[in-house]
Subunit: 130 residues, 2 copies
DNA sequence: TTCGTTGCGTAACGCTATAACGTCCGTTAT
DNA sequence: ATAACGGACGTTATAGCGTTACGCAACGAA
């Protein structure tokens, strides 16, 4: 379950995401892998599912896209936050212990058992503002 | 721009969301309003756009659904968080000043100008755990 | 062997959202 | 008044995102 033994498809999808300079939609990944044998969306989605499980890839819920994890080694990142530039598409991945702890507090106080947390800030990055 | 003067379509969409006991997809709203004259997705999406502008409705990015604001009077809620139960579909809307401030800090420090923030915790609610 | 699990390939389908028309109506300027 | 504009509306078609359903092949456990 802890990865390290990716299948051919999984490696190609992860490769496409790593090579990209920003998040990619599943169908964009498909297009970029067509000349390497990909034919159908399911090939991409199946690979993505596993890569998400392994923590090597993150899904950006607010833009229906996927991005390679920026810190695949820092294994423990619980809830991650993303800053997504709406101009250039660049994404910054970060995590904040205080935010995590506050959201954890709320969950505990309300008897809510969290499974997956999404924190996404959309806006304009420093580069695009300059 | 500050609402108070909803059109017929906007009122019907808001009514459908308020009457529902949980978030609804745009197409579910469409189905529920068919006998009141709704025919096409665009009628729903156009109304939703305005209602989102007015702050009367929130979009749940991680499940492609919409929900009536739980506190339409507390006008000022900047970035809101949602706890979404994956069992029963119930949604709790809350806001945490510390979380907001921490995310604001990160943005300021990184020269990022935020426009819209989504915080969504998926998991299992207290009721469904019991 | 037999079975269960996992990954893969293909086709079809369903759900989510927008583009591109044209129309109607109330407000405003001439 | 009437022309011009903006905003909401209706309809059709299309684009984009994701899953269901089927069958096959490989591998390890029983
Ligand atoms: Zn990561
Ligand atoms: Zn940018
Ligand atoms: Zn609200
Ligand atoms: Zn529940």
């Amino acid at each position: 379950m802890t990865a390290r033994d990716l299948t051919k498809n999984q490696e190609m999808v992860l490769g496409a995401l790593s090579a990209a300079d920003g998040p990619l939609s599943a169908y964009t990944i498909l297009d970029r892998l067509r000349d390497r044998g990909f034919r159908a969306p399911l090939q991409v989605y199946r690979a993505l599912d596993k890569l998400l499980d392994y923590g090597l890839v993150h899904r950006l819920e607010s833009i229906n896209a996927f991005v390679a994890c920026a810190h695949p080694h820092c294994h423990g990142h619980g809830s991650i936050a993303f800053a997504i530039c709406e101009k250039c598409g660049q994404v910054e991945e970060f995590s904040d212990a205080t935010v995590q702890s506050r959201l954890g507090d709320w969950s505990r106080e309300h008897g809510f058992k969290p499974s997956k947390t999404a924190i996404e800030i959309r806006g304009t990055c420093a580069t695009c503002l300059a």
